[in-house]
Symmetry: C2
Subunit: 272 residues, 2 copies
């Protein structure tokens, strides 16, 4: 394992890593930063492509992370840095002493589809249309893993998947789920060609209640923007519009909560 | 309607209102501040005891708020202030030009219980045990209203109900739901004496899955702390321990998402 020491925030490697704190830098490099013992461990343990681990030389590496590093079987560089250098790569108020650079997740979409086509098997896909709140997006990814969802398609107009707030809210699920960033209309058509029914959350009259039996076979559940809901372009492609009934004077549910209710209802019906 | 104008942040009324931005000040006065057109309107329309409306004199009062003010039938003071004074009463980066002082919500607990005793009717109560994240607490209150829950008991060790982040996340539900701040063990006993079954969320072996038929009659659903879950003291009082199954490597669900899944399952079963 390569090992280095860096004490200056002007070091070109640190400058490069610092650029990963914004979306443009992440898109240019195809990597992102994760921060904190828990997330770094999750990345190492789930087999994500961790390229570099940067840690506070005075604090050393947390024993749990060290154990995960020892069994990690891909090339990886360690950089010991000063507290000040680490702060340069941190988005949180109390840095946890460790940051890792990870390659952006990339399960191949065509290969994913082929797997299901060849097996002739059912699936539940979650599609996210213009989600804007990083906490919501991350919590939805976390919830999707817990509900046993088979894949997530994130549309191009959603908040960046590799934003630090998204990553923290996923609690590591981002390293383990098949996640695709695709233009949603094309993804809807491709899934439709596989016999997938598109369930679009809505408040439309004429939509069916979320607890009706609509979740069998191949389905894609679309969750829309926090304020505007699912875009008209995607809404038009729906096989079925689905709503969650609201009692009292409530006007809506939080997007992550609504998503959890629907995904678990799908799961409940599919095991029956 | 009383009308005043204040241009100095040193004005004693502004100093008093400013203290409502922290818990101690709110507890001393028994009131709290809500900020923004939407929440002020929700407060006025739901019949909350709004005492004072403070607004930016240059921007005037939003027409929707003005309409709600005209039909509001309790004594209320209006204070026109400068932008700088309003900023002193604001917690957000872009103040929306209006803030209101509202009396803390107080449905009487004994009266609430009597109502159900006399009617001999069923109910679903939500109990919150040491919730720490304001966004979670607010989202849970919002979700509880949407699910048609009959009352919420917030334990004494939870984050303050009248914290600005909690209020914003409730989307106004806080003005409309019967909310009680009580020591949880005593509330559990009082509800138990009414034949209420206590469903405690847990990850215990031997707990039943959340979609088993456990939601009829009078029930109280307990949601615990984000990290530690329900406290041992309350857990011991459980009639039934309930868990939400987790797939993949997921270790837990977000507290508000878990709450939404259980409350909507309760609702689904109760309408059958």
């Amino acid at each position: 394992m390569e090992q280095e020491m860096i004490t200056s925030i002007h070091n070109p490697q640190i400058k490069r890593l610092h650029q990963l704190l914004n979306r443009k830098g992440r898109e240019a490099s195809g990597t992102f930063l994760v921060e904190g013992v828990h997330l770094v461990e999750e990345a190492l343990q789930s087999g994500a492509a961790v390229k570099t681990v940067i840690y506070d030389m005075d604090r050393g590496i947390d024993p749990a992370c060290e154990a995960s590093l020892r069994v990690y079987d891909r090339p990886l560089k360690r950089i010991a840095v000063t507290e000040q250098v680490l702060a340069k790569l941190s988005e949180t108020k109390s840095p946890q002493g460790i940051v890792a650079e990870v390659s952006q997740h990339s399960v191949d979409w065509q290969a994913w589809k082929q797997k299901y086509e060849q097996a002739g098997s059912a699936f539940v896909v979650l599609m996210l249309d213009e989600l804007q709140d990083p906490g919501n997006l991350g919590t939805i990814i976390r919830t999707a893993e817990a509900a046993g969802i088979d894949g997530i398609v994130v549309g191009e107009n959603s908040v960046d998947l590799y934003n630090g707030k998204v990553l923290r809210a996923t609690m590591g699920a981002i390293f383990r789920l098949p996640l695709f960033r695709l233009p949603l209309p094309a993804a809807c058509e491709e899934l439709g060609a596989m016999g997938t029914r598109l369930l679009v959350t809505s408040v439309h009259d004429g939509s069916v209640a979320y607890d009706e039996p609509v979740y069998d076979g191949r389905i894609a559940i679309v969750i829309g923007n926090e304020g505007r809901g699912v875009s008209p372009e995607i809404s038009r492609l729906a096989t079925t519009h689905v709503h969650i009934p609201l009692y009292g004077a409530a006007e809506s549910l939080n997007a992550a909560v609504a998503c959890g209710i629907m995904l678990y209802e799908a799961r409940r019906q599919r095991k029956e």
